[in-house]
Amino acid sequence: MLRRTVEDASTGSDSDYSNSWISWFLSSKGNEYFCEVEEDYILDRFNLTGLNTEVQNYTQALDLITDNLDDDFQEELRGSLDIQARLLYGLIHARWIVTCAWTGQDDKYKKADFGRCPRVLCQGQPLLPIGLTDVPYEKSVKLYCGRCEDIYSPKSSRHGSIDGAYFGTSFPHLLYLVYPSLLPLKSGPTDPTRGAGAVGLVPGAGATVDDPRRRGRAREELVEGSDGLGDTINTAAVALRAERYRPRIFGFQVNEVAKLQRWQEAVRDRQVARLEALEGP
């Protein structure tokens, strides 16, 4: 019954009402980028530190998210509470995704649920959502490509209006920092087994484990494991493999663009030399 009223008050997109606020939220149109935050994570107050100052009616909003809101909560306040609940869920979501615990859930990255890089030479590299700021209500969500390391606007305006703070500025970079084996190749067709495989390596890490501590341990093991694997990855010179588009007029390079591209490649070569010097012989 509660679910009903909330739906009516909001977008009312999906009529099949589900049993929890979170699954309702996730199934609403436009919310495809969000993943499911495990209830244990939300119920651990430590994870929510500081959010009470950012969300009005924090307690009720939290109750709504966790389906604990009193049935006698005033009807007329439901609409505004729903907005606060979305904000709260978004901010919790931003913290949750960097724990990388979502890798055990159905892998939205592998399935390219966030879309693919529009850059032709990235050959359909799956994207990851990213914010340009961690403060809510400032910038909409963008998409990060691990291959060209650049950010793009979502194709659909439906996603263009999602708050970027609900994903945060750090998420893709933390993911690749912790799991270097996930780093996309710089050339050739996007390899679906790469990355996907690495996430798949996470036995137990993602499986919905009840004890968060156990999950934590599993994750550490994975990190060690992927470091062993990652250790063999030398990324110092990967940029040399990246393909570039070269503008041509009747087959001849365009002077000024060619000059810029030469300069950019000289900058690249200098970085490669610098990184190789760091790696040692």
Binding site: S156, L177, R244, W263, V267, L278, E279
Partner: protein, 388 residues
């Protein structure tokens, strides 16, 4: 056979057919396609109705938004068509169709009119490839460009720079149309699936670049200086103040190279950050691709690299500078700093996560076995310190 059916797959290749559900995918574009297709229902015969020429009809089809209307006298001039008749089957009939000429009696030999329609499309596309390289064609495309018909670059820091269609090949049947952005000099897949059936050769490899050579005021210059970084290491401005009042006070832009782009570039480069701290290039996952997007601050700097792509006064020890201090280009890329600026209420935010990451990094580092890695490990530790 109706026009509707041929418009679905003008490219005669093994381009994957757009699945029905993708056309209808919630972007809203699918619905548009359907509606427009409905409107075209009337023109099913090979001779479009009275006022509408075949060419305007063709250009009005959904997915044909990028085409301009080729002047009929251009098509009638045999010189412009040199070599094309070998590439287009049923040449004569296709010409008649494109030019709305009543077909001869002997064209009854053609088994199926849809074959001629496919030929007419190919013919028009190939003529279009040549026409857009002429003064009139460039002009027609410029009008579409200014009207935003081709859309804008999806890359965030190109700041909505308009793009032009381009092909990756001049031969038909090889690849679909792409979009070229003059700001990042890169090519993109059109956002809407309705262009997935349009042959890139109908725009060709040269047009996009000849276009920006012709309209230099539309072409961003190869150098860029951050409006606020006038030599000093002043703290960066918020993105809003940069795009806002600040830019209006700037002096008019001049590129000393008269043959170069005369528009001020959108030169910001994305800098990955974790909790406001730049991801170090020393990390395995550190930035490797910023070179592809950065511009020198001044045009003179372009001359510091010779034609072979080598630095003209390069000293070996410049590399070492880069290790300790920051390399020049790193500093240049630092100027735009939305995150650090916006993160003022951060300290508590994700502090626990940070703690975990730090632990993770420690674990990572203690399991690193190779001795040679020592220096890098030390550097990582330094970063951890910064993060804490």
């Amino acid at each position: 056979m109706s026009r509707r059916s041929q418009q679905q797959a003008p490219v005669d290749t093994n381009q994957p057919e757009v699945p029905e559900d993708e056309l209808l995918s919630a972007t809203g574009e699918g619905d548009e396609v359907m509606e427009e297709a409905e409107e075209q229902e009337g023109y099913t015969s090979s001779t479009p109705t009275s006022s509408l020429t075949w060419i305007s009809w063709f250009c009005s089809l959904p997915g044909h938004d990028y085409f301009c209307e080729v002047a009929e006298d251009f098509i009638e001039d045999d010189f412009n068509l040199t070599g094309l008749n070998a590439m287009v089957p049923f040449w004569k009939e296709a010409m008649e169709m494109v030019l709305d000429v009543e077909p001869d009696e002997d064209s009854a030999k053609i088994p199926d009119v849809s074959i001629v329609e496919a030929s007419a499309e190919l013919l028009y596309g190939l003529v279009h490839q040549r026409y857009v390289l002429t003064r009139a064609g460039l002009h027609a495309m410029a009008e579409k460009y200014e009207a935003g018909v081709f859309g804008s670059c999806p890359r965030v820091y190109c700041m909505g720079c308009n793009v032009v269609p381009c092909g990756r090949s001049d031969l038909p049947g090889l690849d679909t149309v792409k979009l070229f952005c003059p700001n990042c000099n890169d090519i993109y897949v059109p956002a809407s699936s309705r262009f997935q059936g349009v042959d890139g050769a109908f725009f060709g490899t040269t047009f996009a670049h000849l276009f920006f050579q012709t309209y230099r005021e539309l072409m961003p210059a190869p150098f860029w200086k951050h409006p606020s970084s006038s030599g000093s290491l002043s703290p960066s401005l918020s993105p809003r103040s940069v795009t806002g009042s600040n830019s209006s006070q700037q002096a008019p832009f001049v590129n000393p190279n008269p043959h170069g782009g005369q528009k001020r570039a959108a030169g910001k480069v994305y800098v990955p950050r974790i909790y406001g701290f730049k991801v170090s290039e020393r990390a395995k996952s550190g930035p490797r691709m910023q070179w592809m997007r950065i511009r020198p601050e001044s045009p003179e700097e372009l001359d510091e690299v010779d034609w072979r792509g080598r630095w003209i006064d390069d000293e070996e020890d410049q590399y070492d500078d880069g290790i300790d201090g920051e390399a020049e280009e790193d500093r240049r890329m630092e100027d735009f700093d939305p995150v650090r600026h916006a993160l003022s209420p951060m300290p508590y935010r994700g502090a626990h996560i940070l703690h975990r990451i730090t632990q993770t990094m420690m674990t990572t580092m203690t399991t690193t076995k190779r001795k040679k890695k020592r220096s890098r490990r030390r550097l990582l530790l330094e970063e951890v310190d910064v993060m804490l």
